[in-house]
Subunit: 319 residues, 6 copies
């Protein structure tokens, strides 16, 4: 169950309205790397994790809930940057008089120009945030990655936090408002903190590479295909030893020849005598057995209930 | 700021897994009338309302937060209905042996058939909910209506609650699980409760019709155009007096003739002598002045701050 | 069957081209609360209604067809506001000479600036309307709400008309062209008229609350959960009697405690002795029987035909 | 302005309900090649054409309006194929008794299975059509092509009609209902008719190739790049003379060598001595001047009005 | 299999950065008529064609691969037009000092203004291309038309090439950079070349009209319905003989009367005595038999393999 | 520039058609973690990297091109799994006879049932792949993450490869076809290989944490907020030292109290005396200077050219 308190997690303030920066900031409200994406991603991931891995479930729900709180901070900042717009839109009386008296023509021109920044602030949302990115494209569930395996999901999250961090970094280039910068720096820093939380949680699952259960085929896991000709480069990604499996990289300079020679790679062979088909199968079997047990033992087969009630109270009494 | 507690607002349970109903229930998780839509709609609407109308802001945030809690209930139910899928997907060891020994062929056939119910439960989400509707279409911000005016937004919400109610009603036709029906009836009833809350809140804004500030043009507000020929019907929507403005309906049986006769309606006239152009203008002016004042007086023009901190504590000490 | 006549329903005119306002006006052409949304929503709703409720079907088709006619008015206005763009885009001859002779550099700069207003007017549509909102996001069927129950659909429509009305109200702030304002006021007023038609039609279905057939559970229908802490407010939405069911509101100040005490609300009780489980069931049974009869008796079970032909002629002869 | 009459353009009938075919038929209701796409495409294209080319405008509006009428036929057929679903969804009374008495369990199983065909018929639309394709993906404005030039738009339409035709052809494979086949064959045939209308209209614009105004660069217009190696084929698309410009095809067997030799094609030369840079420029200038004149002379620069009223009446009186 | 070489197919250059034109050019990178759309459309179409029609498969893959190469050219041009943005975004050090010393306020204002051109260049992509159209709407698979029949697909492609051509033509109006114009003219010309290739390939399928296999019903294939009243026009699209089937157009001036008279067109008759129901059925049977044979004989029913390896080498040795 | 050769990179085969698995496999053709997503993501990222980091550019283009080749493998497999569908759809002759003679009714029933697997294989694509996920939702550019900074993009890619790996792992549960499993295992393994390439490339950028240039604020970077109450857990993500910055985690058990006490966190303090505001600013300045130099020095300010031609040839001559 969620609760809300009226205070923002961070004391968001703005020096003065700035509809143009409000538009940019939409990127983190309803954009692909924004706070709603983060909140929903961790929230959705948490469902499969809850029973088998309750500790990591707690972490996912802590961070998901913080991201909802950040979404509120971003929305509040946009709203403050748009101060005045909503009121102005209600001001329909005696427009002609005002216009002619107060050089309204020019004023209206300026007003229209501001509105062009994001027309929907003017004609749709009435001066409030829209659930879109900075170009007005609506948020979509397609942003959310949740694949039912913590060794995958936590890596997705490290990517997501990296992207959210850089977007805040870029946004900082586009405002001089010291209050807004303060808020952006807080939010940016939290992405850095979350990244490290996810990385630490990933390490609690062992082995965690390759992600999932199935092992890599040693005939294909250490091959580098030189598919882009000209200005070829060698680096630790195709020279030396691979980062996780520790296999020597094999550089295929001419993939076409290789493919033809090996009947479409099907006849490829591996030099690695330690990873036999049998040894990999056994490794998979062990890992699979362990994971299946962790997951299935944590869920009853019928009369399934999500929460227990009153338990905490009892414990509190004991304490 | 949001908080989360581990207990669901409602004690959601399922008798046994049912992937097919899990798919249907996605309609209320990531569908157009589902819980995320409701939560986000009221949450986004709340930003413009907070300063001028703090009481209604409190109501919107109360209901938005409850809808987030309902989203969690729906997700938890889907997860319980999918019990076993995640574990089965990890079970990759010795598959061939199992297959041949235990009539695995047929088992796999059955499994594939179940997966066809919603392929993404099987191949994408690993047996967890997806942020989509029951057809797998991702949730979109386009579902959210927030127009910066309570006389509009509260009516949008009454429509939204009506739709959410009927979808739960339909869903109840597709499950026999008594636990699931219990949960669906709770959620359905809450939509009925929320509808009445929004209706009550709408009545606190007076006048609230027409929504917004501008008044209707009496030459066009009571005209009914018979655009669909054959089997014409008369009813209170084109006969008698209009519901809100109390004007007599004028039925235009032949719109083409009327349009030609009136130079494209521009030369239309009204019989209503009470609503003169001047009287309407004054009504607009008064209403506009009142609304602009309510809104603008509630927001400072610079150094704007969203929350105050420590205030509640002080008050608590006083009490 | 639809027909078209070359005259617009309203004599739409513009004083002079204005590509910037053309962009804003797209919001009502291909936007979420625009004329296509309205037309398609009522048109799609009409299919389920036709047989059981032919009078309301006639109303839905009258209004849907009028909305298509409004879509044409909006598109025509956009086209007139873009006058000159299409011709200019064909003007590719001797561009270098023109440029150097006539200060073309500056002219082109200005032209590019105008195009930036909405690049697709310049590089995609060739100076015609696009089926998008004011930010260029394509219209989507996700805007359309049609749930197969008039007590729901008509409420959706009242919400939709309210939103369309306020968008026209906002748009009026962004143009000074008296012709365009005239058209916008006509279109805005028609939304006010349609709202009242739908409201009147809703009243012809009795009972119409709760929408649909199923009744609310009296244990949950009058409860208000205080989910957002701090600055709590009381109002007619949580104090006094509910608007439609006339139940006394019960305010739950501490939902967490309530949820724990009632085993996740499952053990909630109601004070209302008049609405017993049995009486509600009977009410549902009666209503269900009535509705099923209305619907099923209106549709044959086989050899189903949509229209009858020549009937009107016969009647005409009689008259 | 649009009108509607209650009779369908074609006497659509169904022998008996068939929810599965109803789902397939959605492809032509809200799918990418369906009737709404066609109607909206021609309707949107018509705006730029109206003033300079009133005859072709008439044709576009005739066909657009017919496509709206076809949309209604498709929707009506879907509705008839879903007969019974809406009524069944209202049948909520005494469900337990019915279930136990009448082998309801099995009946419900069957019902659920049918619903799985398209869950949204069951839980969202209440047994009516949805504005989606056969997979439930909402219709999108991205389907509509309108580029402000008849030599382009009419070709888009010939492509669109071809696609609509083949979808009806495929659909005919999936139903045995003779009434439904009759309707599908009518609709399929109309696409064939419309294709030929667009083709005839295209021929009234001369020259119409290349589409638009600008001419092709003879250094690049007749070159064929062999970008896919192995199993190369020669045919009239890279051998002989090109279809419209009548240039001899030049086959570049080794594009990489060609690109390097010609400094990235910039140093390419043409053998065609008839199409000089100057002659092409003049051709463009002439064509541009003609088109600009056609377009600009048809639209006033200010006080622009879309329709004239009463004109037809006057003429009628004369006749 | 695809390869890449570092050289662009065309020597794309820009004179100086121009973020505004970079935004416009996105229309051909991630827009509905852009290079990715073309590449993916031909690539996806190629799969069904490969076995029965290997020559046309070669052509589709040649052109698809060229379009991928054009996508790269467009992306490279956008990147060059954005030169400096990425570097500037990394420049976060000592900002306050720079600002105060160098009139940074104004500089930042200018920078913000540029960023407004497309905010995502500034805050999302870090100064690189985004996979969107010029309004920031993400590319969608809905742009791709592939219907499994060359007589349809090739016509879709002729429409697509026409649209791509006109968009390049329009884009040429918005830049003065001679290098960029050179590139745009190359790309525009290639669309003209591709159009003719598809047209030539279409002619290799005979008969190819109507597209697909099923024949048109002669009762409906030559009828023109006058659905839009007023300013009716006659032209080769409703007067004379139809372009492909050579049937005389029948003009129905009053569709409503015709529909009522013919029982919803069901009782329509044809004057054409040559196309009997039987003769059309036989034509369909012959064509169907031919096509089925072409397709089915080209694909084995089991143990299906896509490519053969080493074959070319053998042939090479022979040569 | 791209090239294509007719041989697939891997010798994809299928034992026999299987439309149901073809539908599932669409997830990797046009789905959110599929091959097109991967190909486009690396391709788009490569543009900003090319000049400053040519070695990593080479790697991105090598892998992007391989992913295009995998997209072809997946499409070819889907096509082979659909063998027979395209031919059957052309078989329209004498259907009635076939039906009655050969128990066609049942056959058609079965055929329809198969088609229900994914209706668009039957009625839209004519038995070829569609550019959608397994539910028929079109691929969208929203899947692509490219943020103009390698320390972000490479992390996005590690997440993306993890997701692609698990989807192949899940898919392997749904087919028994040994040929198809062979192909899936190859593709799955390549994701494992690519993950390690990206990880190795990330290590060549130092420092690479936090991603981007700006440093974390030490007052917020090591704080863990306990936002989800009940069943709290401690783990390396909130206990001990953070993974990258090596800071001690601070666990805030009661965030509400903390927020109120610190004036909305603004008055937070840090214990870390080594990271002063000044030292962080200097670190940022150094890193910023380095990055700006790397990027800006690699791109000329005017007359920018993407490729050089003929260079390789010269070098080849030298060798």
């Amino acid at each position: 169950m969620f609760y809300h308190t009226k205070e923002l997690q961070f004391n968001a303030r703005v020096s003065k309205p700035d509809p143009r920066f409000a538009r940019l900031l939409l990127e983190q409200f309803g954009g692909g790397n924004g706070e709603l994406k983060a909140a929903m991603q961790y929230f959705v991931q948490a469902f499969t994790v809850k029973n088998p891995y309750p500790d990591q479930y707690d972490m996912l729900m802590d961070i998901a809930t913080e991201e909802f709180s950040h979404l509120e901070i971003v929305g509040a900042t946009i709203q403050m940057l748009l101060s005045g717009v909503n009121g102005e839109l209600k001001n329909v009386a005696e427009e002609d008089e005002i216009m002619s008296l107060l050089g309204g023509k020019a004023a209206k021109e300026g007003y229209i120009h501001e509105a062009m920044v994001n027309p929907q602030f003017g004609v749709l949302s009435g001066g409030g945030p829209t659930l879109t990115d900075s170009n007005g494209v609506p948020w979509t569930g397609a942003y959310v990655n949740a694949n039912g395996d913590p060794t995958v999901d936590l890596r997705s999250n490290m990517g997501a936090e990296s992207r959210a961090k850089i977007v805040y970094e870029y946004l900082l280039k586009f405002t001089d408002d010291p209050y807004v910068k303060e808020t952006l720096k807080f939010l940016m820093t939290r992405e850095v903190a979350h990244f490290q939380m996810f990385e630490a949680a990933l390490a609690t699952f062992q082995p965690n590479f390759p992600p999932g259960v199935r092992q890599a085929d040693p005939r294909y896991s250490n091959v580098y295909f030189n598919m882009s000709k000209g200005a070829e480069a060698r680096g630790p990604w195709n020279d030396g030893t691979s980062t996780q499996l520790g296999e020597p990289w094999k550089y295929v300079a001419d993939p076409q020849a290789q493919v033809e020679k090996t009947n479409g790679l099907v006849d490829s062979e591996t030099d690695d005598t330690t990873k036999t088909s049998q040894s990999l199968k056994e490794m998979e079997a062990d890992l699979s057995k362990k994971k299946v047990k962790e997951i299935n033992s944590a869920t009853p087969e019928k009369d399934i209930q999500w929460s227990e009630y009153g338990v905490k109270n009892k414990n509190d009494n004991k304490a």
